[in-house]
């Protein structure tokens, strides 16, 4: 019999097209997981380490050692990770052998999103019914307010991961509005468990920062250092205790270094906020940036140095006054096709 060896491109391209991204069967993925685990043990043996306690970081180091690559793109280099991280999470096929879909909302296109909205609304109606029952029996409504400050809702990306389905910004905001409406009702405690699926804890900001202890120089005077930056200016400040309120910048007194009143006000801002104007001496070095940037950098450096002299509550007050945040605003880049970062070229009719 004759066998066609070279086929035309039209025949080859018959079934490609509207099937979307490649769908992996479950058996295939399980096989990949087995292969990965075996490969991990082989790799551990090769490197001379214990196969039982071979972590992902060890795998990464071993691969980087065995397959050194000079490619710039980190994602193009050889990688050995668990298949659940490599193969994207996909939903299984949603319809049976007769072609009928399993879920009743399949034809909306976003079945998980709409089923989630339906469930949440059902909970809302439940809460309202419970409320009506309590009112009918003349019992007082529970008014324990949930602590809203300590938790935040899931972000859009996290929700997409949870549902394994894409959604638009509008859909996400509608879902969050529905959740907020549910939480705002007085008897929402019944559905606490359901709501907690979509809420995350946010830790208190202050606990992340370490405050250094005071240091003492030869004369026994306490001092502490701080670093600050703003735009391109970098500053270091050393704040001494038992001082008269003298401030020196790069060896020059501030009255001569900063002739403008606004800059001197900024330098004194942290001291004035804490009420310690005449009590500390300061010696700073600053370089780079312009007049206002240098003042901002020194302000940040002195605020950071003052943290060691002051109680924790006052440090929190300083943070809420905006004294301890690095200002991220920098000069915006010029874009091609425009004269400046925002200004466009003059429009000429012809």
């Amino acid at each position: 019999t004759l066998r066609l060896i070279c086929t035309t491109t039209a025949v080859q391209r018959k079934n490609a097209g509207a099937s979307g991204p490649e769908k992996y069967t479950e058996a295939y993925i399980e096989k990949q997981i087995e292969e990965f685990n075996l490969g991990k043990r082989h790799l551990a043996n090769m490197m001379g380490e214990d196969p039982e306690t071979f972590t992902q970081e060890d795998i990464d180091r071993a691969i980087a050692y065995l397959f050194p690559s000079g490619l710039f793109d980190k994602q193009a280099r050889p990688v050995m990770k668990h298949p659940s991280e490599i193969f994207p999470e996909q939903t299984k096929i949603q319809w049976g052998e007769d072609g009928r879909p399993f879920h009743f909302l399949f034809y909306t296109g976003k079945q998980s999103y709409y089923s989630l909205m339906h469930e949440t609304y059902e909970k809302l109606l439940n809460v309202q019914k419970h409320q009506d029952e309590l009112i009918a029996q003349d019992l007082p409504l529970q008014k324990e307010k949930r602590n809203l400050a300590g938790s935040r809702w899931l972000t859009k990306i996290e929700l997409e991961e949870m549902l394994v389905e894409k959604m638009s910004d509008d859909d996400y905001s509608r879902f969050i509005q529905l959740l907020q409406k549910l939480v705002a009702l007085p008897c929402a405690d019944i559905e606490e468990k359901y709501i907690q699926k979509f809420a995350k804890e946010v830790p208190v900001q202050l606990q992340k920062v370490l405050i250094e202890p005071l240091q003492y120089d030869e004369r026994g005077v306490a001092f502490s250092t701080g670093e600050g930056k703003r735009k391109t200016a970098r500053a270091t400040a050393v704040v001494y205790d038992n001082g008269t309120g003298k401030i020196t910048v790069n060896g020059i007194d501030i009255l001569h270094y900063f002739p403008v009143l606004q800059d001197r006000e900024q330098l004194l801002f942290p001291f004035q906020f804490l009420g310690r104007i005449g009590k500390h001496d300061m010696v700073c070095t600053v370089s780079g940036g312009g007049r206002s940037a240098q003042a901002g950098a020194i302000r940040l450096a002195s605020a950071k140095a003052l943290r060691s002299f002051v109680t924790e509550k006052e440090v929190e007050f300083m943070r809420q006054a905006g004294l301890l945040t690095i200002d991220p605003r920098v000069k915006e880049r010029k874009k091609p096709g425009q004269e400046g970062p925002r200004r466009k070229f003059t429009w000429k009719k012809r």
């Binding site: 400050a149 006000e265 900024q266 004035q272």
Partner: protein, 233 residues
């Protein structure tokens, strides 16, 4: 020493850049809150705060806060309205000149009021206001229009429809009118601070061209009352 905490903060405050760049954006993540500089609010004990303030405080403890801008300070001399006015007077980014003009204006107001104070008889001395900041605030308040006009096009014709204004818009219009008035309708050799102090004193007493402009706007709005139903917001 100070290095680990500084690098830790830098990593967390890395530039906030969403995947698609919108046109109006800021370098801060949207979750950052505005800083509160007023010292007295922090010295209030816990019991005196209302429910809303307590919630606000708890929210502030969890969210990051933006850095205070260079114009804002906790000293008694920094006033947000005066800074706004100085920024509007500024040309080509020359803040030094704008600030000196502002201080010269306030000085001129104080001098004129003191002259009046010393010349006035005993019983009228208490009615004369000498504090230039109070005069500035009161003058601005007197210049603020209550209702504004907006152009709405219906069926080819553009109508001037009376529309309520937000607080920010009122303040902006009052300051803008004062500045344009002083820049245009003055004698060639007169200095801006002198002219501004004159205008502010007249506005403080509800006289002067800026107040007249405000009344003209109100009258136009009253005349176009019939078109008020064109507004849909």
């Amino acid at each position: 020493m100070a290095a680990p905490s500084a690098t830790g903060l830098c990593q967390r405050l890395r530039a906030w850049l969403p995947r698609i760049m919108p046109v109006r954006w800021s370098r801060y993540n949207p979750s950052y809150l505005e800083p509160e500089v007023n010292k007295e609010l922090y010295q209030k004990p816990l019991e005196e705060l209302t429910e809303e303030e307590r919630e606000q405080m708890e929210l502030k403890a969890v969210r990051p806060i933006k850095a205070a801008p260079p114009t804002l300070s906790s000293s008694v001399f920094s006033d947000p309205m005066i800074s706004k006015f100085t920024n509007m007077m500024m040309k080509n980014g020359n803040k030094v000149l704008a600030r000196s003009l502002m201080s010269q204006t306030l000085e001129a107001i104080k001098r004129k009021q003191l002259e009046k104070y010393h010349k006035a008889p005993e019983n009228e001395k208490e009615t004369i206001e000498c504090n230039p900041y109070i005069i500035f605030h009161q003058a601005l308040k007197n210049c603020q229009p209550i209702i504004g006009l907006s152009n709405i096009t219906r069926g080819g014709k553009t109508y001037q429809v009376p529309v309520p204004l937000t607080d920010n818009r009122k303040r902006f219009l009052a300051m803008k009118w004062l500045i344009t008035e002083c820049r245009e309708n003055k004698h060639r050799r007169m200095m801006l601070p002198e002219k501004l102090s004159q205008e502010l004193l007249l506005a403080f007493n509800n006289e002067g061209p800026v107040i007249k402009k405000k009344h003209v706007l109100h009258k136009m709005a009253e005349a176009n009352r019939a078109y008020a139903h064109f507004r849909w917001w």
